[in-house]
């Protein structure tokens, strides 16, 4: 299926989801749904770099928090509409991704992974020491009660995240089927041979890092409005990193569907676990599932299905 029909179908599905959610007349659906959709974006974004090119990013939280703190920064300065904040967050996170990539992508994959972890901590330290955005005390962002047309604000946030998820999925799928996607796959399979075949590996890796980082930042931009109170240890929390790695690895890293499956599956399980048992056990579950899947089913759930060899021409 070409990209345009896919986009239209995705938007149609998104519209259906939104309508169903509204019909359920329960705000909790929107709150929980927002979280799951956020995971879809993060998992898909992570997979563009981690799954397609094979370079593991442990610093999902850094890019996510960058997006969130961009919002906080402007909220204190001059509140802007969320869509604009998302664009700014994309720019900021994308640029940081580019910079970090430029510093570290010439190294082996394992050094890159460690560097991403380092970046997350450096950024967290910078934010903690920056009083304008609240520092270690955190920042309050009051969520407006209502919004014209839609009614409750949480529905607005849900809709935004829904559209972001569509954007992320369509982007991932388009990349996958394009010339760029071939390039990414060769980097993952054998970077040395890719270079010898004419693939500009550094440039492609930088592109992947930028796109991946940008989407993570975009996912973070509405977050302060969702949560109301943002402080560094939650914004930079390890659960973001673990989830954004676990979801694609469990769902399958080779295509765009894997992260979506992983995000929905794990996202729903976590919502249930948090409500019925406790949030700590829920995190434990994610960690255990990650290890188990990585050891037993390296290609995730999608890897259990036989591969279809067809790829459309670039």
């Amino acid at each position: 299926m070409r990209s345009l029909p896919f986009l239209l179908i995705s938007l149609a599905i998104a519209a259906i989801i939104f309508v169903i959610a509204r019909l359920l007349q329960n705000d909790y659906v929107f709150f929980a749904g927002y979280t799951v959709l956020q995971f879809v974006v993060l998992a898909t974004a992570w997979n563009i770099l981690g799954g397609y090119t094979g370079y593991v990013n442990f610093g999902t939280a850094a890019f996510f928090a960058l997006g969130a703190y961009t919002t906080v920064f402007f909220h204190k300065l001059y509140p802007l509409p969320i869509p604009l904040l998302i664009v700014i967050a994309a720019l900021v996170s994308g640029l940081v991704g580019l910079g970090m990539g430029y510093l570290t992508l010439r190294l082996r994959g394992s050094f890159f992974a460690i560097a991403t972890l380092a970046l997350a901590v450096v950024l967290q330290t910078l934010i903690v020491n920056w009083d304008f955005v609240g520092g270690s005390r955190g920042a309050y962002v009051i969520r407006p009660r209502e919004i014209p047309i839609l009614g409750s604000y949480i529905q607005y946030l849900f809709l935004i995240m829904l559209l972001l998820a569509v954007a992320a999925i369509v982007t991932a799928r388009t990349i996958e089927r394009s010339r760029l996607g071939y390039g990414f796959a060769t980097i993952r399979d054998d970077e040395l041979a890719a270079e010898a075949a004419g693939v500009p590996t550094l440039k492609l890796k930088l592109i992947a890092t930028m796109i991946s980082g940008a989407f993570m930042g975009m996912a973070g931009a509405p977050f302060p409005y969702y949560i109301g109170y943002l402080e560094p240890s939650s914004a930079f929390g390890l659960p973001y990193a673990v989830n954004s790695i676990a979801m694609p690895m469990i769902g399958g890293t080779m295509t765009w569907i894997g992260p979506v499956i992983g995000a929905v599956l794990l996202g729903v399980i976590q919502q249930v676990a948090t409500v019925t048992i406790s949030s700590a056990v829920n995190l434990l579950l994610v960690g255990v599932l990650l290890v188990v899947f990585v050891v037993i089913a390296p290609n995730g759930i999608m890897g259990l299905f036989p591969k279809r060899r067809k790829k459309s021409a670039p």
Binding site: G54, L103, G109, L238, A241, V281, L284, V286, L290, P298
Partner: protein, 292 residues
């Protein structure tokens, strides 16, 4: 800002002592990553585990933490060997890309932290030992706290022992060789997998002692491990992968830099120091896909 002479000197000495401790924390990674090329980012989790075990034994039986860790060495060794076996069967043997191995250790890191939170909670835990309460050693204007000196000295002993082991014994030299030439090792009738398993076991065993040092130096809580990931890899890379003397020197350097930062700029900047050094080192280090 007026810089006082004793402040500088004390920061220097504190940094050196800290460095000695950091060397013990890092030596496990020097073996696992530097020699075996296994990116065990869960190493700090094993260290924290060691800290909590020392805490448990100390609070129940009053046993000295460092002594506890020495007793715990074989247990951690076996744990390390088991972890390596799983790692080998799941990843190395299948020739899997590095991604899966990294995710595996990351998962272990995370699981350990969450389990510790579930069992012990997020409160800080500390140990009581005789020498922690001893008055500091006075050398002129310098104050040397015993809770820093003792771990540092024992750490140096640990490193010395390991260096001797790696350079003088057959197994030790086999470990050094396994990274470079597995075939040659096989021809010498040594099983590379077994050698690697021994090495990784030793790597995790050092975490037991490092954990004891940690809880002597400062109170611990489950998420502290994460701060050490950057320190450990920064030191490892800075000191030259796989070189124990290099590890010691790099650890001292990092300790000193962190100490000065904490003294003159405040402790909240300390995590950024090590991770910043790591990023800088990685950026400046000769690049190359084939090169190490």
């Amino acid at each position: 800002m007026l810089v006082s002479y004793d402040l500088v000197l004390n920061a220097l000495i504190a940094g050196i002592l800290l460095g000695g401790f950091y060397a013990a924390v890092t030596v496990g990674i020097s073996i696992a990553f530097g020699i075996l090329d296994i990116v065990n980012i869960a190493h700090p989790a094993f260290i924290i585990l060691g800290s909590y075990i020392a805490y448990l034994v100390n609070s129940q039986f009053g046993l000295d933490p460092i002594l506890t860790s020495i007793i715990a060495l074989p247990v951690f060794y076996v744990l390390g060997a088991m972890v390596y076996q799983v790692y080998y069967l799941s990843f190395e043997r299948r020739g899997q890309d590095a991604l899966r191995g990294l995710a595996f250790f990351f998962g272990l890191l995370f699981i350990t932290e969450v389990l510790l939170i579930l069992v012990f909670g997020v409160d800080y835990r500390y140990v009581t030992a005789a020498y922690i309460d001893w008055p500091p050693l006075h050398l002129g204007v310098i104050d040397i706290p015993m809770r820093m000196l003792i771990p540092c000295l024992i750490s140096l002993a640990l490193l010395g022992t390991l260096q001797l082991f790696l350079s003088r014994t057959f197994t030790g030299r086999a470990i050094m060789a396994v990274a470079q030439d597995q075939l040659a090792l096989k021809l010498m009738a040594a099983n590379p997998i077994r050698i690697k398993r021994i090495a990784f076991g030793i790597s995790i065993a050092t975490a037991a002692m490092a954990g004891a040092f940690l809880i002597v130096i400062q109170p611990v809580e489950p998420s502290i491990g994460r701060e050490y990931i950057g320190r450990v890899f920064a030191i490892c890379v800075l000191g030259g992968l796989g070189s124990l003397p290099g590890t010691l020197i790099a650890a001292m350097l990092l300790g000193i830099v962190e100490s000065f930062t904490a003294t003159f700029y405040g402790p909240s900047w300390a995590p950024a120091v090590s991770f910043g050094i790591l990023l800088l080192t990685l950026a400046v280090r000769p690049a190359g896909i084939l090169g190490r």
